[in-house]
């Protein structure tokens, strides 16, 4: 019923979808469309979606934007979200906008463009990457995304190239009731190094759906720092998945910062080959009636892999949070070292968290640990601050900020760290914390 309505809407713009003239891509899209038609969006009956109900999407029926009706974007507003000293790829309502993007000075060895454009200029490169990280994945959102992505970023960094500046993909939604459905592909060759920031924002007060899937392939010894900053509007629905395939001795450092959205689901999945390293850091903040779900999955499929996962959540008012962290150590993956930690702070009696760590260890010579904690602010810490003259409310806010800020401090990129701290201070304006003191 509902899936059908989305499918109908897309059929009317099928000829606008990138690569519609490429038989191989059409086949991929048709398969996905069939799968989406059969399942619809994920349902809470599915184990991996147990805590997050997206049936509202089916009632809302967000409409895909058309590329033929470009939005005008206030440059000043946009600038506040662009990180200094980066190359930027801007997506507006699901379409790459080359005019708003800035790739000046980027070496021509690197391909960085929209996927629609890449399908024309480098169709074989797109074909080589598309879907390669999704072999173990299946759910309605992914099928939906594959069937109907309107555009996305295509970034390929060849072997031995180290990017001098970070790349930022800015996903912007500008229309009420609209849907932005993007697929981004990122490939790093052997020994390549890059920093990539994906920022998700929307114009104030609008309601919309973001469905963004990023596939990342890291060849041997490649190093990628990936930051996801999700600051959608408080009426937005966000599905954002990042799927990573790591060849041997590659490094993937991920920071998942999820602050916005009425309902947000972040998936970060990685598969590690021999001696690959993966770090996943997450911070999620929610208040009022926000719902934020973080679903992480790490497959150790070969020996000597290292994964470190640290997630923190702060939930206020009637907000609801989910942390599902799964680590699978496959039988061949001896000498794996995996650590997972999740701590959650509940600021109100009505706030809720479902925290579910899962370790599946099928090899016998491994070092794995996990820990989960849910709690309130410590009374002795509050008293300590209060006994120094700080009022109780400020003391609580300071401690909350500190709890979150410890994750923010892990961000190695100064410009992003400052921006994230600004967001943090905006979300909890009563922290009594002043920007210039930090």
């Amino acid at each position: 019923m509902s899936a059908t309505s989305y499918i109908e809407r897309y059929q009317s713009i099928a000829n606008e979808l990138p690569g519609y003239n490429l038989p191989w891509l059409n086949a991929v899209r048709q398969l996905a469309s069939g799968s989406f038609e059969a399942t619809g969006f994920p349902s809470p009956r599915e184990e991996e979606w147990k805590y997050t109900n997206v049936t509202a999407l089916e009632k809302k029926l967000f409409a895909p934007s058309s590329i033929s009706t470009p939005s005008t974007i206030d440059k000043e507003w946009l600038e506040t979200h662009v990180l200094a000293d980066t190359w930027t790829l801007v997506m507006v309502d699901g379409y790459f906008d080359s005019k708003l993007s800035d790739l000046v000075g980027l070496t021509d060895k690197v391909i960085a463009t929209g996927i629609a454009e890449a399908l024309q200029s480098h169709p074989d490169r797109v074909k080589a990457l598309l879907g390669t990280t999704l072999e173990k994945e299946s759910h309605g959102f992914l099928a939906f995304n594959t069937a109907y992505f309107s555009d996305g970023a295509f970034i390929e960094i060849p072997a031995n190239v180290k990017l001098q500046k970070p790349l930022q993909i800015l996903h912007i939604s500008t229309r009420n009731e609209a849907l932005a459905n993007t697929r981004s592909l990122v490939g790093l060759g052997r020994n390549a190094e890059a920093k990539l920031i994906e920022t998700f924002i929307g114009l104030p007060n609008i309601s919309y759906l973001t469905a963004a899937v990023t596939e990342i392939h890291l060849a041997e010894n490649a190093v990628l720092d990936h930051y996801k900053l999700q600051v959608e509007t408080d009426k937005a629905y966000h599905f954002g998945g990042v799927y990573v395939k790591q060849d041997k001795t590659s490094h993937f450092y991920q920071h998942n910062l999820s602050f916005g959205g009425l309902l947000a689901r972040n998936e970060i999945h990685a598969e590690l080959a021999t001696a690959a390293e993966c770090e996943m850091n997450g911070l999620f903040l929610a208040k009022n009636r926000q719902h934020v779900d973080n679903h992480t999955l790490i497959h150790h499929v070969e020996p000597h892999g290292i994964s470190r996962e640290t997630y923190r959540g702060v939930l206020a008012d009637r907000a609801r949070g989910v942390f599902q962290g799964r680590i699978v150590v496959h039988p061949q993956a001896q000498k794996t070292s995996a650590e997972m930690n999740n701590r959650n702070l509940l600021l109100s009696e009505d706030a809720e968290i479902d925290a579910k760590p899962q370790l599946e260890i099928l090899a016998d010579d491994v070092k794995c640990s996990h820990g989960v904690a849910v709690g309130q602010l410590a009374a002795e810490s509050i008293f300590y601050l209060v006994s120094r003259g700080v009022d109780r409310e400020t003391a609580k806010n300071m401690l909350t900020f500190a709890f979150a800020n410890e994750m923010v401090e892990k961000i190695g990129l100064d410009s992003l760290r400052n921006k994230v701290q600004d967001h943090l201070l905006n979300i909890f304006p009563q922290t009594g914390i002043r920007r210039d003191w930090l």
């Binding site: 209060v386 006994s387 120094r388 003259g389 700080v390 300071m398 500190a402 914390i433």
Partner: protein, 252 residues
């Protein structure tokens, strides 16, 4: 400065303090000694306003005001400072940030403007020298990963910055080696003044080798059982707390 009259305090249903009276004049240093479980720490916590203590009788008048009516932050702003026996680690809040927030809260209460960044930093740097603390500690999270001695020095640093009128040191000497004890004591001594009073809560006499008290009170089973000058501490050291129990036994 401080007048405690007939103070009775319960924790849950257990009476801990059973009628404490204590008068402290400006500029005086009073030592409160006693065996474990005598109620020393309870007294310091009640004065600082910690939750979980029920005052069942008695009064505490501080600078003419009812101290027990004030929430802890107001006590701090009025000039009461508790140096904790176990200073709390606050990951994510830097020392300098806490100092600034606390100092501004106190200054605001006193009708003073906030210090600008330059004056604040100058002041803080001067105070760190007082406790022989490396400036890099200012930018570290409050007490996180500090050694026992560093934590206690940090308490004295906060005290020096906030310039309280009544300083309560709760077993500040516990867990300190001789060098750290000397640094902490020097810090305290440099803060002594005609309008600032101290309560030193301690189990051992050795702190009093460095900070000379005007009066020594011996607390046992929730009561002050003996009061004397500095020589009382030496006598206690020599004869042990068993001697007090004996005295009490005789009195009973």
């Amino acid at each position: 400065m401080l007048k405690i009259e007939n103070l009775h305090v319960r924790v849950e249903d257990k009476p801990i303090l059973k009628g404490i009276s204590l008068h402290i004049k400006p500029g005086e240093v009073h030592a409160i000694m006693g065996p474990n479980g005598s109620g020393k720490s309870t007294l310091s916590h009640v004065l600082a306003g910690r939750d979980g203590y029920e005052v069942t009788a008695g009064t505490v008048i501080y600078k003419g005001k009812n101290l027990l009516d004030m929430p802890p932050e107001e006590r701090a702003r009025e000039g009461v400072f508790l140096a904790f026996q176990y200073p709390v680690e606050i990951p994510g809040v830097s020392n300098v940030y806490l100092l600034k927030a606390a100092l501004n809260a106190v200054r605001k209460h006193r009708g003073l403007p906030e210090l600008d960044a330059f004056d604040f930093l100058q002041m803080i740097k001067a105070k760190t020298k007082l406790v022989e603390m490396d400036e890099k500690f200012l930018y570290r999270a409050v007490n996180e990963g500090f050694s026992g001695g560093e934590k206690k020095r940090n308490e004295i640093l906060q005290m020096a910055v906030l310039e309280p009128s009544l300083c309560i040191l709760d077993e500040t000497d516990s867990g300190l080696d001789i060098d750290a004890l000397k640094i902490v004591s020097d810090g305290v001594n440099s803060l002594r003044s005609a309008d600032r009073s101290f309560i030193l809560v301690t189990h051992y006499q050795r702190l009093l080798d460095y900070i000379k008290p005007d009066q020594v009170h011996v607390l046992a089973q929730g009561r002050i059982v003996k009061t004397g000058d500095a020589s009382l501490a030496l006598e206690l050291e020599e004869r042990g707390y068993g001697w007090i129990d004996q005295t009490m036994g005789e009195a009973a």
